[in-house]
């Protein structure tokens, strides 16, 4: 599936909750639980993405010209968000990742999670994924 298709699917899923933020958050927490467990040896200081309150670990793997992400977070809601990012971006080429417009965030009503500086690791994580992919495109 293209990242656009995945995003649209996510938006569809969330549309069921309409404006019910609480249900969205509970759903996110459930999604987070389905995120494949991250190998402990990759959860090191080096691969931490610090937000103000929540931490995110992000470990990128390059394979056959594509980028795969392992990820985790110490907070459940951020982990849910992170799982969506992984779903959308993992397995894509670096240039696809750089170019992906993550419009789903606003559409599912989660822009406040990246709106304000330092509010959590989610915003930093997006930046990190993009930067990593960008570095790889530069390399070629």
């Amino acid at each position: 599936m293209t990242s656009t298709e995945i995003q649209n699917e996510i938006i569809d899923d969330f549309s069921l909750f309409e404006e019910d933020m609480e249900s969205k958050l509970f759903y996110l927490m459930d999604l987070g639980k389905k995120l494949p467990e991250m190998p402990l040896e990759h959860k090191t200081e080096e691969f931490i993405v610090k937000g103000c309150q929540s931490k995110v670990w992000l470990y990128p793997v390059k394979q056959d010209g594509k980028l795969f992400f392992e990820a985790d977070s110490n907070t459940e809601i951020t982990k849910g968000l992170v799982s969506l990012l992984v779903k959308i971006l993992s397995g894509k080429t670096p240039s696809e990742i750089v170019e992906t417009d993550l419009y789903f965030i606003e559409k599912i009503g989660m822009n406040h999670m990246i709106g304000s500086q330092r509010s959590n690791g989610f915003a930093s994580m997006i930046k990190q994924m993009k930067m990593y992919a960008f570095a790889l495109t530069q390399n070629n």
Partner: protein
């Protein structure tokens, strides 16, 4: 004064911000220890100032400058009365508690601390009452000593007496803890400190809106307040100091207002309070701050404390009822302001905070700028609900309901 005289609807009607929805729910604002909301009179005074009077103060010959100066100094008199200072000149306007403490550390501390001297703070201090002392101790060679606390969040007074000695020059202590609510026995601390010749600075950030203040009766040397935690605008703080101390302190910032005469060869400084108010002050907010003090005076501290204690007790009773095995409360001092830290078992405070926000409830999550205290409890942070006079029992119930749902999920 009995609680029944407190007309909560009337009080709430003075706070426009409270009447809004957040995420489809009525806003429940329980982040009052971070900053309180502002009554409409404060907001209107700000607007009126800029619509009618605005001018730079103290040096003007014209009508607007005259009016503005008068209003500005009126607030100083209100502050004086609010804390019962001997003179208005002992009340210096700053940006907030943080600046007030830095001012004392960088002037009194710099002038009078010597290598080997000791500064005493407590384990429950806010970073604003830790870092300035670390900085000045490093600069002067004085030592920073820390008063431990008990598991229930009370100060370990025995340990305090052991730490207190003739080496102690400054005791800097929080009056009411922003993370735990603990009210410290400040009169006892002050009297003991004075016996060994130390001076005492009280961090009154949380005391301002909750506790009656009488600096002369306390005999405290320095008291610091933040306007924004006292129903006033952001950007205004108070440093109260005894004249005898303020007079002998070197100035803090240099600039306009704080000088008597400037020449390139030598500069003489102005008298207090101006000596410590360099540059154009935050005139508008200072003027509006007066109406915040009047709001508090209008209700009365006694009535405020009674009401807030009721809210706190109602919350804690609720937690005990359904959640004592799934929700851990932090801070069980006998004397407390209406602040309650807690954690849901196995839940990160950030998640709890976001879930509460989804129901329109504003709480604070994190370390509350008290990292050493968090370390004491072996945690990274807490969820904190802090109550103000405009909060209601029904609002506490909304919080309790939401927590109940979370622990039962």
């Amino acid at each position: 004064m009995s609680v029944t005289t407190l007309d909560i609807n009337f009080i709430r009607s003075q706070f426009p911000i409270l009447h809004q929805e957040v995420n489809g729910h009525p806003l429940v604002y329980f982040d009052n220890a971070a900053t309180t909301q502002k009554p409409i009179k404060v907001i209107e005074a700000l607007g009126d100032y800029y619509k009618l009077h605005n001018a730079n103060i103290h040096r003007g010959a014209h009508a607007l400058a005259d009016r503005s100066t008068g209003f500005f100094e009126d607030t100083r008199k209100s502050v004086q009365q609010f804390i019962n200072a001997k003179e208005a000149a002992e009340c210096i306007f700053t940006k907030g508690v943080t600046e007030s403490i830095n001012l004392v550390a960088q002037t009194y501390g710099k002038a009078f601390l010597k290598p080997g001297d000791e500064v005493l703070i407590s384990y429950m201090e806010h970073h604003s009452n830790i870092v300035p002392w670390q900085m000045i101790c490093e600069e002067t060679g004085a030592h920073l000593k820390v008063i431990p606390i008990h598991e229930n969040g009370e100060l370990d007074l025995e340990a305090f007496y052991k730490l207190l000695s003739v080496q102690t020059k400054i005791v800097a202590c929080v009056w009411a803890s922003n993370a735990l609510g603990t009210i410290n026995p400040v009169k006892e601390i002050i009297d003991s400190a004075h016996k060994v010749g130390a001076i005492v600075l009280l961090d009154g950030a949380q005391a301002g809106s909750h506790l009656p203040i009488n600096v002369q009766q306390l005999d405290v040397d320095f008291l610091t307040l933040s306007g924004h935690k006292l129903y006033g605008p952001t950007g205004v703080g108070v440093l109260y100091g005894k004249r005898e101390l303020l007079d002998k302190m070197p100035p803090y910032q240099g600039g306009g207002e704080m000088i008597k005469e400037v020449s390139f060869e030598s500069t003489t400084y102005n008298e207090i309070p101006f000596k410590f108010e360099a540059g154009t002050p935050n005139i508008g907010d200072v003027i509006a701050f007066k109406y915040a003090l009047e709001f508090v005076n209008g209700i009365g501290k006694d009535a405020i404390i009674q009401w807030e204690s009721k809210l706190l007790n109602h919350f804690n009773a609720g937690i005990r009822e359904f959640g004592s095995n799934r929700i851990k409360l932090f801070g069980a001092a006998k004397e407390k302001v209406a602040v309650q830290s807690f954690l849901l078992e196995g839940k990160h405070p950030f998640d709890t905070g976001l879930l509460l926000d989804a129901r329109g409830i504003a709480v604070r999550t994190g370390h509350h700028c008290t990292q050493p205290l968090m370390k004491f409890f072996g945690i990274e942070g807490t969820v904190r609900a802090s109550f103000a006079v405009y909060n209601t029992m029904e609002e506490v119930d909304v919080l309790l309901d939401s927590l109940k749902k979370m622990v039962n999920r």
